[in-house]
Symmetry: C2
Subunit: 184 residues, 2 copies
């Protein structure tokens, strides 16, 4: 099937139906399908785009956290991450979050891709980065509400934790798996 | 930091603020933090849990699609997937989706993990499966609204497409990366 036959859906109109502040807005879209059929009130969720960073130190350790999150049962292994601020470039946000959450910096940044969070509803875009040769330049200044424990793990420990399902959040498992699969 | 120090947040109350049908509901939660602070009106998004399946045929090809989705620019490589129906077990949903979308079946199923889609807002849970020794038993009977082109790709092609960012949706990139990183 040639590319031109894969016709996207067309947005006819959109109306805001819930304003939950900067973290969640919901619109209903009227959408026209390629065959002319129209879907009314397609829910569309607007949340901030975010970054995640997998940082590898100069001596080959990976920076992780053990932390709790509201939507996760128990604690989870996590990676550096956070929302992109208004007008901020994804890489700038990634560098800021790495510095704030760990006190580390890196001058060897690689993109691990940009992904739509939900193929139907939207839910923002995730930007993933690998930060090699990370080195400590400052104390942590995380202002996260959650408690966070910083861990330095080997590559073998990272892969084993991934396989055991210890990264319980989709984006965190995704970036670790991407680094293991294509990051080298 | 011992595990018991990682205290989760506690839900004090919840109220429905948007009922967008079975695909999206939004609640506001009142939440108590470990230090006693209370957050009012924390947005919580309820969407159906879903499955994704990476299927490998008996001759070592992986089943993918090229398709369009409303929230994705252009077309994307995709894997088998869909929402879990009410009362349906994740593995049953995975087997149903594989059969419906491709006409293939497998008797060698492995879990690639279960992941919360959004650590703060909820957005359901993703269940990933690897289906080995997949073989064709029927015609495709996909009722998806989107156009879908079925592709059979080698492992090398799969890994190369992942590295090029051709899986544009977080869950699809995640399951392919997980299969490459831990699936063997």
């Amino acid at each position: 099937m040639p590319e031109w036959m894969l016709k996207p859906w067309r947005t006819l109109s959109r109306r805001l139906v819930l304003d939950g502040g900067k973290y969640l807005k919901v619109e209903y879209h009227a959408i026209e399908l390629p065959d002319g059929q129209v879907i009314e009130d397609w829910p569309w969720a607007i949340t901030p785009d975010y970054v995640n960073v997998l940082a590898e130190t100069v001596d080959g350790r990976y920076l992780c956290f053990r932390q709790t999150k509201y939507a996760v049962e128990g604690s989870s292994l996590a990676v550096v991450g956070g929302y992109i601020e208004a007008g901020e470039a994804p890489l700038t946000a990634a560098q800021r979050e790495l510095r704030e959450e760990t006190g580390y910096e890196s001058s060897a940044w690689t993109s691990l891709g940009t992904y739509r969070v939900d193929a139907n509803r939207g839910m923002g875009v995730a930007h993933f980065f690998l930060a090699r040769d990370a080195h400590r330049v400052a104390e942590r200044s995380a202002d996260d509400l959650e408690e966070q424990e910083l861990l330095l793990v080997t590559r073998a420990e990272l892969a084993a934790a991934l396989a055991r399902g210890e990264f319980k959040v989709l984006a965190w498992a995704a970036i670790v798996a991407l680094a293991c699969a294509v990051g080298e």
